[in-house]
């Protein structure tokens, strides 16, 4: 089945952030180009979107989970093999930004714990969502950037409602590819993923 594989590499991206910041909204805007009213996310779900970056076919497995930390402890598998992490906050909600600040360590620890490899392998982005409501902004670009810089991660702003800033997916894909080749300089992408497991065959049939 591997010969019918429709991509060269698969990356798992996870979304974290406080409740109601718009994690699911960003995902569904990107995957389905929809902005819809939906209930709060309880169950982690994931979506797949294939993109081509620099002539490399990449399958993005985008995981979304609820912001309610009560259910996290069952979601350990959520972080496993994650190559990219979006930490999302609502620019109009100060507490959601502070949450990202205080949660950064926890998140990296979780990713490391369930990833089984060094933290440098994973790309982190800080995302300020809801720029359509910029009038009520409570978090300035400056402070968000300052936090990002001090943790050596990137900061981007989006509006899921107005479909702006969705470049973040392409951007993180590039960074993940870069990191991947850094970490695995000897093996080509295709070589490495030809031994890929059932995931590949499954995704190829449904994507």
């Amino acid at each position: 089945m591997s010969d019918s594989k429709s991509y060269d590499i698969l990356f798992k991206i996870v979304f974290v952030g406080l409740s109601k910041v718009g994690k699911s909204a960003i995902v569904s805007r990107y995957v389905d180009n929809m902005f819809s009213m939906r209930n709060q996310t309880i169950h982690p779900e994931f979506h797949v979107r294939n993109v081509v970056v620099d002539n490399i076919k990449v399958s993005l497995q985008i995981w979304d989970q609820g912001g309610c930390d009560r259910y996290m402890n069952l979601g350990n598998l959520f972080y496993r093999n994650a190559k990219g992490v979006f930490m999302v906050f609502d620019i109009c909600k100060r507490d959601s930004f502070e949450y990202c600040q205080s949660w950064f360590d926890t998140t990296t620890r979780s990713v490391n714990k369930y990833n089984g490899f060094k933290p440098e392998k994973c790309v982190y982005y800080l995302i300020g969502n809801k720029t359509d409501l910029a009038l009520d902004r409570q978090v300035t670009i400056e402070e968000a950037e300052q936090f990002s810089k001090s943790n050596n991660i990137k900061y981007l702003e989006t509006s899921a409602k107005e479909a702006t800033g969705l470049i973040l997916f392409e951007s993180i894909t590039r960074d993940m590819l870069l990191k991947h080749t850094e970490m695995e300089p000897t093996s080509s992408i295709s070589l490495m993923y030809s031994k890929s497991n059932s995931t590949a065959s499954y995704l190829s049939t449904c994507c």
């Binding site: 209930n39 709060q40 169950h43």
Partner: protein, 769 residues
């Protein structure tokens, strides 16, 4: 008529309220003890006319107007004039006082005729004074069983009573005959052939109580009963020439009337609605509506109409007539159930009765049911069926492996490896064939059937409960009566509660709710700024409310405009104060949304949510123990039923069964369509077969995909995606049928469960189905 002039007020207390459900804020009024006419003493309650609120103090100190006066003066006021209470002190049987430490004291009157009088709430006290005053007129004796009950010492032997009633009837000509003349139906009363019957009239003070019209603000609404359903006018000849008409039991058959009653009482009230002359006396007993309220009665006459006041009586005649009516009602009830429209329900009940017989195997029960159901489809073959081949002959599934074969085999080889058979093919098992027929044939619980489960006083006896729950398990509930049924399923109303005790309960629960609600409402901004836990809870609820089922018509529209969102918010916030340990956890808004859409009332929704949370509370505990327990039970059950699939999932780190986290957490709220969720929840609440049905449902869902999972060698991620994608696309009946066959299979096989691992599940299943 100057009746008022003859009145003498012995006691009067203002600001005494009654709380009919139709009137949100209750009715303010004055309770008084008055001597009317020739020294007959009445306990009366008169509402303040709605336009005279400001005169409250004045009217309370002045002599209380007699009911007839108030009737005349306020005839145009819609409801108020109907709520008058007038009870002759000789009719009092007992008085129960409730003096809660917090809240308003109230009394409940119990009359000899078991006529319901609404509880009186003494907003400004006065219970003791009333009792004292009453005690000086009649002899009250504290009950030895309950010091809050005051029994009236019965001075009236039958002879005395009839004497007193003769006196009463003499007095009556003052006020009431005149009123009768104003009313067409009472004009008929004058033509009564039997004097004794006429004397036996029970006259209502309000007196505009003719049933035949069914609409003219009739019947003193003596008590507030659960909304819905009223009987249509049906005539029954009292003289024995019954001309029964097929009653239409539709709850909406009488516009605007919001009462419910059992079929028996319905019939009684219907019988009262006759236009024919020979029963016109009886028609003055306004039995409509009020009959459902008969409280605490044990006599064969417990179906007596509720009258506030019995002015005339000649007991033996009355009783004779009521006996006749009861008989007619009984026969009428039979007729109702023989109606074609009711046949299915009736059949169902017959069937249910049958299968409670001991020593009948599942299949033969089900088979017998089919045979009896008169549908004619393969009833006979199924009735004999322990042999599965007959019924599944058409099933071409290649890996056909019937549970029955397994079952028969396992009877001979308990504990052998054959017990773990794979693949598990539910659809080709005989359990499911029979169950399909059963579930598919069962209609939702209809209003008429629902009302038939009540006894005269509004209880559902234990035997009926079991039938009822089974019925709900197989058919769900008709949308029109969900509002009435859910409070029982969620243990808001006890099944053995009576009409009147539910009235009290509803009042108390309403008070309790608003007490808790006031707790958070009274938190000032100042306080809130130092109460971060409250603030964060409030914000979390707000966040979730504005994204709960917003595509449902009830919750559409602007965030701040839709009042239902505010209700969701208030109920959840109140619940977080009611159950402070749980507070609010995501998922609870999902539980409330269907409940509110059904109950359409803040207080009722709250208490139903409470009932739901009682079932699910452990799901929301911080340690997640409840969830872990259920998911690991699911894993063990899977291992027991289909070890191959279990091994596969286990090898992919999936034995935590996390795929079903959300399904278990909020009872498949997001996995099925809104309408289906309501049906499903009723079925779960029925607790029929097992309280753990969700676990079996998860298993059924998983097993539907077993071949796909195994053939594609799916990883955890893929299984999760596969299961997630099934949301909203599953057929509820299909899943339920599969789940049920799994339960039954488990019941049969549980003896072979190797260890204690499924003990809780074993205990949860009922072997008596």
């Amino acid at each position: 008529m100057n009746v008022t002039n003859l009145n003498r007020v012995l006691f009067s207390k203002q600001n005494v309220f009654i709380y009919p459900p139709e009137i949100e804020k209750g009715l303010n009024g004055t309770i008084s003890i008055s001597s009317i006419d020739k020294g007959s003493i009445y306990l009366m309650w008169t509402p303040l006319p709605s336009n005279e609120q400001e005169d409250a103090i004045q009217s309370a100190t002045s002599p209380s107007p007699s009911p007839s006066t108030s009737l005349n003066s306020s005839r145009n006021i819609e409801i108020l004039d109907n709520w008058n209470v007038k009870v002759h002190v000789k009719e009092l049987k007992s008085i129960k006082k409730y003096t809660p430490t917090i809240g308003t004291p109230y009394i409940i009157l119990n009359t000899k005729k078991n006529i319901t009088v609404p509880p009186f709430f003494f907003e400004q006290g006065g219970v003791r004074e009333l009792l004292k005053s009453l005690g000086s007129i009649i002899q009250l004796k504290k009950s030895s069983l309950d010091s809050n009950i005051f029994n009236v010492v019965d001075f009236s032997d039958p002879l005395q009573r009839s004497i007193s009633s003769i006196n009463l009837s003499d007095e009556l000509h003052f006020g009431d005959t005149e009123e009768h003349d104003e009313d067409d139906s009472h004009g008929q009363n004058q033509q009564t052939e039997s004097n004794s019957l006429r004397k036996a009239q029970i006259i209502v003070p309000q007196n505009n109580n003719n049933n035949s019209g069914g609409s003219n603000g009739n019947s003193p609404k003596i008590s507030y009963t659960p909304p819905r359903s009223i009987s249509p006018p049906i005539s029954i000849g009292i003289g024995g020439n019954s001309n029964l008409l097929p009653p239409t039991m539709s709850p909406s058959s009488v516009g605007g009337s919001g009462f419910s009653m059992s079929p028996t009482s319905k019939l009684l009230s219907s019988s009262m609605g006759s236009d024919s002359g020979n029963d016109s006396d009886i028609s003055s007993f306004n039995m409509l509506k009020s009959s459902s309220n008969a409280v605490l009665s044990t006599s064969p006459n417990s179906n007596l109409p509720n009258k506030r006041t019995l002015k005339k009586e000649k007991s033996s005649n009355i009783f004779d007539n009521f006996a006749k009516i009861s008989q007619l009602a009984k026969s009428a009830q039979k007729n109702i159930f023989e109606e074609t429209g009711k046949k299915i329900d009736n059949h169902f009940r017959n069937l249910l009765n049958k299968d409670t017989k001991p020593n009948q195997s599942t299949s033969s029960i089900l088979g017998a049911n089919l045979a009896n159901s008169g549908t004619g489809q393969s009833g006979n073959s199924l009735s004999n069926s322990i042999s599965p081949q007959k019924n599944t002959g058409g099933n071409s599934s290649s890996n056909y492996n019937s549970i029955f074969e397994q079952l028969n085999d396992s009877m001979n080889s308990l504990g052998s490896s054959m017990d773990y058979f794979t693949p598990f093919n539910i659809s080709s098992s005989n359990f499911s064939v029979e169950l399909t027929l059963n579930r598919k044939e069962c209609n939702p619980l209809s209003p008429s059937e629902w009302y038939s489960y009540f006894d005269e006083e509004g209880r559902i006896c234990l035997a009926n409960q079991q039938i009822l729950l089974k019925k709900i398990f197989y058919g769900g509930v008709d949308d029109s009566i969900r509002k009435e049924v859910w409070p029982y399923l969620l243990h808001y109303y006890p099944f053995d509660s009576t009409y009147s005790s539910r009235d009290v309960l509803k009042f108390e629960k309403s008070q309790e709710y608003f007490t808790i609600k006031r707790q958070w409402q009274s938190i000032s901004c100042e306080q809130e700024s130092r109460f971060s836990k409250y603030t964060s809870r409030k914000q979390l609820i707000r966040k979730d409310v504005i994204r709960t089922d917003r595509l449902h018509p009830m919750y559409q529209g602007d965030d701040d405009q839709n009042p239902n969102l505010q209700l969701l918010n208030d109920i959840l916030l109140t619940y977080s104060f009611y159950n402070f340990d749980i507070g609010y956890v995501q998922g609870m808004s999902d539980l409330l949304s269907p409940i509110l859409s059904v109950m359409e009332n803040e207080v009722d929704s709250f208490w139903c949510l409470k009932g739901m949370m009682d079932r699910l509370e452990s799901n929301f505990h911080k340690d997640q123990n409840g969830m872990h327990t259920q998911l690991s039970t699911l894993a063990k059950l899977l291992k027991f039923i289909d070890v191959e699939l279990f091994n596969h999932i286990d090898s992919h780190d999936g034995s935590n069964m996390y795929f079903f986290f959300q399904s278990i957490l909020i009872c498949f709220k997001r996995e099925f369509h809104f309408q289906d969720v309501k049906t499903l929840w009723e079925i779960l609440w029925s607790n029929y077969l097992t309280k753990q049905l969700p676990i079996f449902m998860c298993l059924a869902i998983l097993l539907q995909e077993r071949n796909i999972i195994l053939e594609a060698d799916m990883s955890f991620d893929q299984i999760l995606k596969l299961i997630n994608q099934k949301a909203g696309k599953m057929d509820l009946d299909e899943i339920l049928i599969d789940s049920e066959s799994l339960v039954k299979y488990f019941i049969v096989k549980q003896i072979n469960v190797p260890d204690q691992s499924l003990l809780s599940l074993k205990e949860s299943v009922s072997t008596f189905y």
